[in-house]
């Protein structure tokens, strides 16, 4: 089992890249520990900025730094970064077109027992409505490394959401092509497509393997980029497999499922199910317990697939 959380992978990768790129900067809002960025702060103090608990200021300052040629990575809890500072994201990053990478840490229900104030399950919906802001959720440590490398080269605003704990690997190595905006088919299939994002890709994959044992061929797509969305991958999946299930650690409103549904109904309508957090303050508990409570599990996805196929 992988023991490295994605936040640590981001720090390790930036530590490597910052040696040759003095413009890379990391900002934290009293979050260098929770973002696993203390090693970066210690190694490159001139490329690190602490702003204290001030999420509006961290985004505004990062926009000012980017305007002056820096490549700021803002690391702050996803729940606050995505909501408390959203006007700064809209005006100072998207509207002013500044090159800022927003890294929402401990996203989804990673802060499980801390309750709704610390859960971040509306962030994708909010970020999707901001023009020009890319949204990426890496699936595992390999993808997080490749994403971090891509972010340094990407010119523009990006919102990245990662979880708190180590997650099981989806990929065996990082030796595969990764491109922001290009979905990855992690398993071929023809009867149904399961689309996951971030930590739910692994769950989708588990469901597909279980379905295979029952004679059902499930395609699994890792939709790591929710915006710009890989519409072609969705339309192809609708056409070739005829059924789609989306699964996400997010409200069922405005997230991956909603984004996929918009493309499906306008291009190739097929039966679809959106699996996520219902419209309620999510129950408190460990991530796995919360996932289980809401049926964000391989078993439930398998059940939904049966229902769609037998309709």
């Amino acid at each position: 089992m992988n023991k490295i959380p994605n936040r640590q992978v981001i720090c390790d990768t930036l530590l490597e890249l910052a040696k040759d790129d003095r413009d890379i900067m990391v900002l934290a809002s009293d979050s260098r520990g929770s973002a696993a960025m203390a090693p970066f702060a210690n190694t490159f103090p001139e490329q690190f900025v602490e702003v204290g608990i001030a999420e509006q200021n961290i985004v505004g300052m990062s926009a000012g730094l980017a305007h002056s040629g820096k490549k700021p990575f803002v690391t702050s809890p996803a729940c606050f970064l995505s909501m408390r500072s959203i006007e700064q994201v809209k005006v100072d990053i998207a509207y002013s077109r500044t090159n800022v990478k927003l890294i929402g840490i401990s996203g989804g229900v990673s802060y499980g027992a801390l309750g709704m104030s610390h859960h971040s399950v509306q962030d994708i919906a909010v970020a999707r409505a901001i023009p020009g802001l890319a949204i990426v959720l890496p699936a595992d440590r390999h993808e997080t490394k490749k994403l971090t490398e891509a972010l340094v080269k990407y010119d523009g605003g990006v919102y990245v959401r990662i979880g708190r704990n180590p997650v099981e690997d989806v990929y065996e190595t990082d030796d595969y092509p990764f491109e922001i905006g290009k979905a990855i088919t992690v398993r071929e299939g023809k009867d149904v497509t399961i689309i996951g994002v971030g930590e739910t890709v692994r769950i989708a994959l588990d469901a597909a393997k279980a379905l295979n044992d029952e004679g059902i061929s499930a395609r699994v797509i890792n939709m790591h980029t929710i915006k710009p969305l890989d519409e072609e991958a969705i339309i192809t999946a609708a056409r070739e497999t005829g059924r789609i299930i989306t699964v996400e650690e997010h409200s069922i409103y405005g997230g991956l499922g909603a984004a996929v549904a918009e493309i499906v109904v306008q291009n190739h309508p097929v039966p679809m199910r959106v699996l996520g957090i219902p419209d309620e303050p999510a129950i408190a508990g460990k991530s796995a317990e919360v996932f289980h409570h809401y049926g964000i599990t391989g078993d439930n996805i398998k059940q939904i697939a049966f229902e769609l196929i037998n309709k």
Partner: protein, 281 residues
């Protein structure tokens, strides 16, 4: 520029901004008139900017955090040659670049502003970048006084002093009026200078409609090494047009034909008076 020339320039800018607001039938007249002297001092005398190369690396940066009073800025940028003066005629027209708030599609505008409380955090980031890269430029951020109620200003004020940004100059256009009336009635700010001092800034209080005082204050920053400067520019909303001065309704009142004529006549008289002193050639 000589002092008298700057005063004449400010009066001309006031005539220009009233004209474009009258033509467009929209604008923030009172706040633009109050900040005209500040912007005139900055753009004609203080800041290192080059209209033919608006993005050169070491230029001084100006951020209009009180973005709604953009009309004075448009008129000054046009007059300084950042874009053709004829373009002022498109102000607020459909599809124009010259919208009612600073827009960085226009040469000379660094960032899009307009939502209040955004300018200072951005300016802190810019000033910090200059320090980290050992570059000589300074960042000037103009805020409104009503804008001081936005909490993000105070987050940035803390950061500005924490990082010892003596290349950062905050300016408050302290005209004491906001859209609903007096700042002290809407949300009391006083003692405002003490608040900024307590946040670690070096505070300089001046008459913000007095060119001599503006130049002296701007030329003496930083007075204290390692401290950002806050210039409390005490101004009169509607300054330069007698019947608009200190009248809250002129926050975004648009002059009608008669009011425009009267205002332009007053400002012409101001220019004549300054010129007759024989100090403007």
């Amino acid at each position: 520029m000589e002092i008298q020339e700057l005063k004449v320039k400010a009066a001309q800018i006031r005539m220009d901004l009233l004209t474009i607001i009258h033509r467009a039938k929209t604008g923030h007249t009172g706040g633009s008139l109050s900040n005209t002297d500040i912007l005139t001092a900055l753009y004609y005398e203080i800041m290192n900017v080059d209209p033919s190369n608006p993005k050169w690396d070491d230029r001084d940066r100006f951020i209009a955090s009180k973005g709604h009073s953009v009309e004075s800025l448009w008129c000054i940028l046009a007059d300084r040659g950042f874009f053709p003066k004829e373009e002022l005629e498109t102000y607020s027209q459909f599809g124009t670049r010259l919208i009612g708030h600073p827009n960085n599609k226009v040469p000379g505008i660094e960032m899009n502003t307009g939502a209040l409380g955004h300018g200072l955090p951005i300016s802190v980031g810019m000033a910090l970048a200059a320090k980290r890269d050992d570059r000589p430029y300074r960042v000037f951020c103009l805020m409104g006084d009503g804008e001081q109620a936005e909490g993000s200003n105070w987050e940035a004020a803390m950061a500005g002093s924490h990082y010892k940004l003596d290349n950062l100059i905050g300016i408050i256009d302290r005209n004491r009026l906001q859209i609903s009336g007096s700042t002290e009635e809407v949300m009391g700010l006083e003692p405002l200078e003490e608040k900024w001092t307590a946040f670690g800034w070096n505070v300089v209080s001046i008459n913000g409609n007095n060119m001599e005082e503006l130049l002296k204050a701007f030329r003496s920053v930083p007075e204290v090494a390692g401290k950002p400067t806050l210039i409390m520019a005490n101004t009169t909303k509607g300054k330069g047009v007698s019947f608009a001065e200190n009248v809250p309704a002129w926050h975004h009142h648009v002059p009608n034909d008669k009011e425009l004529e009267l205002a332009l006549t007053e400002l012409k008289a101001t220019i004549e008076e300054l010129t007759q002193k024989g100090q403007v050639h």
